[in-house]
Symmetry: C2
Subunit: 331 residues, 2 copies
């Protein structure tokens, strides 16, 4: 199978909002008048971001979903993506399932795959996503004000728990996790559902926003640093599944929640005057939205002075000493 | 060194035409009114596209330059790029030189690096480039008309010759290449100069255009197939350095010229009425532009019926049987 045929067979679909898609030196699209183009890129590497023998449908879904999540965090409408993929070999079964997962995600979020590159090499997937936002309306990390509420969508920590179970088959017995919680955690890891609609609705509500990919503390830390704010978080207030909630005295479980990452939930700030609006949004979109703390000035008596902002975590009225904020590929 | 510091130190520069660059969940840019956004992506893998121990400055230059070449082939003005890079380890010397080469190319072509991703994994570089073209003015592969002139910029085959010499140290002695030609060929391979200004000027001249990356026959074949045309090429008319020209009886040298790829020259078609304009352009931009053939109807008495279009090559008045049209990662 030639490179050309591979692209034709697995990666060429009808375009929805694209003037020229796959098949020329570049793609052509029209960004609507009054809109800014929003651009983000994420690279997924075998055995760094996913197990090389993971379900290829899930790899396909997630490789696009994590990029959709970045659009959501900016309040942008995702529209276009490019896919560059290095494959160690042509495995048609793998490609068929990978592309099925990728396009399932593209269909849910109404995204055109407009171009790409296929090459030979260790399995590596690089997706660039592009979307639109009305000029000046993007939600940036730097907009939080002292006194804003800090909100989190969904529940955190499940993906990290799922990863720990997959990495260590005996862990499941050791931690006594029930099968339902295990399956939900693995699903959270492998098939994240980015908060695309929530991100769009937050344009007129949130003062800052980020998606939780590296880990809750690291990502909230980015907002706090960019906004010159601090925060004190009560571990008990962070939304998570009951199984995690019931084991929070264990520091490993604290890590899943605070630093595990791969959650693809949104963490955002908004003034207290927006609480009713946010509660209504939670009902309308059927998404759990939890108010967990307020931003404060960056200096605090107990501040642990993290590089990412003055962020401290309390557990049962005592400050937690934080060893790990989130995932860093090179730290 | 953390991922954050690495990005800050090596990949963050002042923006020229970008509203929000590196450092948030996504970048924000404004595409000018009346323009289409033009998007292309190219992935470069160690030991597939470059030797893992190649000069990192050159890897940096080329990883962006090959993308600029795609913009040129569309008649687009390159403006923005994202860079996703997987690194096996943090080698600061390598990173400093890589980023110096990347930004040298970015400076020459006035491109902002607006976002990216750094991760751990086998060395892999994925660049997505974005540019602008007036709506409807992009030069596509499909616009060639029967009877158009076929033009090529610069000289072909040097990069493939350079690669062959690097792959086989004894080849240099065997083929008796002079040092000047050797150095020029290696330079062509490692430091390609995309034809950005030529591409912009061709908007109002060319009926179709492609950049020669996979190999001349494969790339011209893409134009012919997309335009439903054929062509008969005389090997002697393809522009190349004297050293290649003098060895064209050798089928290996024919391959360098016809199928070597990595040339990053432009191949374009234009009606014969544009010849004077093109000659003037050649003088103004000091770029060799060679008229090598004309398009014809796709069927020919001697047609070899290649998948990519009816393309045949003559050498000393006899048809050449073509074994290899260009590089294909999976064929």
């Amino acid at each position: 199978m030639s490179e050309f045929n591979l692209i034709q067979k697995y990666f060429t679909r009808l375009m929805r909002h694209t003037d020229l898609g796959v098949g020329d030196d570049a793609a052509l699209v029209k960004v609507a008048d009054g809109m800014q183009l929003v651009v983000s890129t994420d690279m997924s590497v075998a055995d760094t971001h996913f197990f090389h023998d993971a379900v290829p449908y899930d790899i396909g879904w997630k490789s696009l979903a994590v990029n959709v999540s970045d659009m959501a965090a900016m309040g942008a409408q995702a529209k276009w993506a490019t896919l560059a993929i290095a494959l160690p070999e042509v495995n048609e079964n793998w490609l068929a399932e990978y592309s099925r997962g990728f396009f399932a995600c593209a269909d849910v979020f109404n995204i055109d795959l407009i171009g790409g590159d296929t090459t030979r090499g260790p399995l590596n997937i690089s997706v660039t996503i592009m979307g639109e936002v009305p000029i000046g309306k993007a939600i940036r990390r730097s907009g939080a004000q002292v006194g804003d509420d800090i909100w989190v969508s969904g529940t955190l920590g499940s993906a990290a728990l799922g990863l720990a179970c997959l990495q260590n088959n005996t862990l499941q017995d050791k931690i006594g996790i029930e099968n339902d919680a295990l399956q939900a955690s693995i699903h959270a890891l492998c098939r994240p559902m980015p908060r695309a609609n929530l991100g769009l609705s937050l344009r007129s509500i949130a003062t800052s926003c980020i998606d939780i990919s590296d880990g809750f503390l690291a990502d909230l830390g980015h907002i706090l640093k960019a906004s010159n704010c601090g925060a004190t978080i009560d571990l008990d207030k962070i939304p998570c599944i009951d199984y995690l909630k019931n084991n929070l005295q264990n520091s490993q479980f604290q890590d899943y929640l605070l630093a595990g990452g791969d959650d693809y939930e949104l963490c955002f700030t908004a003034p207290p005057s927006k609480r009713d609006e946010i509660k209504l949004l939670s009902k309308q979109q059927n998404i759990l939205l939890t108010r967990i703390a307020n931003t404060r000035s960056p200096v605090s008596r107990m501040s642990i002075g993290l590089e990412s902002g003055s962020l401290e975590v309390m557990y049962q009225n005592k400050p937690l000493s934080i060893l790990k904020q989130g995932f860093d590929h090179f730290a």
